[in-house]
Structures are given as structure tokens and as C-alpha cells.
Amino acid sequence: MGFKDTIEDLGRKMIGQGDEVRFKNDVLEYERTHRLGHDEAERNVLFDRMRNVELELSSNGIISSDSKDFDLLQAALNEVFGSKNQEQYSKDAADPAIFRSIAVPPSTLPEVNRVRGYYASNFGGKTPPFAVTKDSADNMKMIQALMTRFETDPRIAGAGSIESTLALHSDLGADLGKIFEAKKAVERHERLFGKDLAFEQTMANFKKTAQNSLTEMVWKAPVDYITTMAKKGLFMKSASGLLGSLMKETARFSGREAVAGTKLFGSSLKALGSLVKNKMIR
């Protein structure tokens, strides 16, 4: 590889195309070590990437959103086909005149459960509704079936570059497009489930804050007042008497959800009690 290529690769890595550069160099290496032409080497390396994804899929039941194997496959597709072609493949996938139907049996319960297991281990034991996990399992099954159909298509194995083959046979590109769309759907489910859980946390925080705030609105003034009195050592008998009355009045709320755990009724009152007691002893 010449100096110019090295500089160009470095520049591409700097703009986030490291995996694409890696694919390009892997193809060159494959050409050299296997003494093959560029088109065949490119096809073999691309299929290697596909097989790695299929392996992940069959061992985990799902391609995770942070799958390195899928990132490498995506980079390979970017390098071979470019973004414009891939956009076209996605459009073709939605066109029934281009996309060839494929029979994919519905996911079995164990397959759906593997997806549920993936969610449970990534989201603290929580899982989305059944329809979502089933859809993810169905999409994964479809991706697997489409990859197999794509890799074993005799037209792909023919002469010429893979890109030119797909230019001639748009149904093959549509298979790739369908794979992208299915993967996107799975990622979307995962992203929105994360958002859903974040909402639960937001509401739990809101409730806690509201309860703290209501408690403080009513009781902070008396606590602060008695604290000021006690700190200054003024009217100690009064401070002690007022604290007693305050404790008596607030005690009936101590078991309430709104009050339990609030800073005001926990540490503040305790500190105030110690303060008054210490000043009285001195």
C-alpha cells in the first residue's frame, strides 16, 4: 500500500470510516493471500462478514444493537455499494414487484423467549410487550432467511463484481434492503423500550420530588425557626418545648409514603433534636 493510500485511509478513519477502511484492506489482503481477483475476494470477505452476523444471530437469538459483527457488515456494505445504492435497495424491498416473497415460519415461543432474555439482561430484568419481542424474533428469523437466500443465489456466485450483479438484478438488492429494514425495526424497538423505562424513572423521581416539596412547604419553616433559636442558644426551654410539640405533630406522618425518607423528617429533625439536647446540657 502506497503512501497516498495510507494517508487516505488515515483521513477516512478520522471521519469515522475505520471499519470501511478495514474491509477494503481485508479484501486486498484476501486477494494477495488467496491469489484471487478483486471481485471474488470482495465477495468472499463480504460473505465472511455476513456469516459472522448469522453466527451471532444463531447463538444469541438476536443481533444486539451494539453488535460489532453487524457494524463490520454494515461497513462492508457501505464500502461495496455506497449509501445511494443501499437507499435504493430499501425502496426496492418495499416494492412487491421487486422483492421476492419469502416463506419464514413464525417464531416459536423459545425463540421469542431468547429475545426476552436479551432484553431482561440488558434492561435490569424488564422486557417489552410480547408483540414487540415477537416482532424482533420474527425480524431476526427473516434476516437469517434472507442472508441465506442472498448468499446461496447462483447469480451472486457468477463472474463480475457483486455491485454490478445487484445492478442487473434488483431483487437481490431488495433482499439486502429488507435486511436493513428488519434490523432497523429491531433497533427501534430497543431504543423506544429504553425510552419507556426512562419515563418510568422520570415519574418515580417526579413523585419523590413532589412529596419532598410538599413536606418542606409545610414543615421547613417551623424546623428552620426552632433550629435558629437553638443555634443561637436563645429560649432553650422554648426551643425544646416547641421541638417536642413539632415531633408529636409530625410523628403521625412518619409512616406515610410522602414523608418517609424525606430529608426534612429524617436527618434534619434528628440533627435538630441533638442540637437542642446538647445546648440544654451545656
Binding site: A93, A94, S101, I102, V104, P106, P129, F130, A131, V132, K134, D135, D138, N139, M142, K178, E181, A182, A185, R188, H189, L192, D196, F199, T202, M203, F206, K207, A210, Q211, S213, L214, T215, M217, V218, W219, A221, P222, Y225, T228, M229, L234, F235, M236, K237, S238, G241, L242, S245, L246, K248, E249, T250, R252, F253, R256, E257, A258, V259
Partner: protein, 139 residues
Amino acid sequence: MTDNVQEIVKMIDTSFLSDGDKETLREEFKKSGTSDTFWTAFHAAFENDFKKRGAVFGEAVDTFESTYHLLEKAYAEKRQHLEEKLENDIGKIDPINTAGKESIFSAYYLEIDNAQNQFQNDAKELYAETATTMVKKVG
């Protein structure tokens, strides 16, 4: 206790008692000085205030908690309904029809989003109303 007139006046003025209670204590102080009568009135004023706060607080907390629970329940029911609808709608679609499934899931996620916004807004409104009512009553 102290006989420092200035400090006692300041203590009454800076207290969280209502203006009426403060005025009564000032009058009592003018009349009785630092006698036991004054200190009895002083403690009684605060005790009454605490009792009033306790009653208002108890009511506010009851309202907030019970209404919040209803909002939570309504949200959970809405979600349950949406999930059942999703299950039903998606069951009618061919699993390889990604565009068709996407449109059903988009509608579902949009409805979930709306339900969450509704829940959040209602909860905020509940808090604001509870706080306003409570503060008004405490005085």
C-alpha cells in the same frame, strides 16, 4: 428563657405564625411581659399552628397520593389497552411485511407517547393544585 425584650419581639416577628397570631403574642407580651402567662400563650400559639399544619398536610398528602394513584392506574390501563390492540393488529399482518408492521408499531408508539405526556401533565397539574391549596390553607 430570656428577659431580653428586643430578642423576644424579634422572635415573634420572625416566626412563621400568621399575622393575627403574631399580633396576639405582641399584645400578650406588652400586657404580661415574660411572665408564665406569656410563655403559655407563646407555646399555645405554636402548638395550634403545628396542629393546623398537621391537618392541612395530612389532607394534602391524602389528596396527592390517592389522586396520583388514580393517574397511575389510568395510565396502566391505557397501556394495557394499547398493548392488546397492538397484539391484535400485528397478528393480522404478514410477518415479512415490514412496512405494514412499521406503520402499526408507529401508531402504537405514538399512542404510548401521548399517554405518557397525558400522565406527566396530569401529575404536574395535581402537584401544582395540591401545593397551591395547601399553602393557602397554611397561610
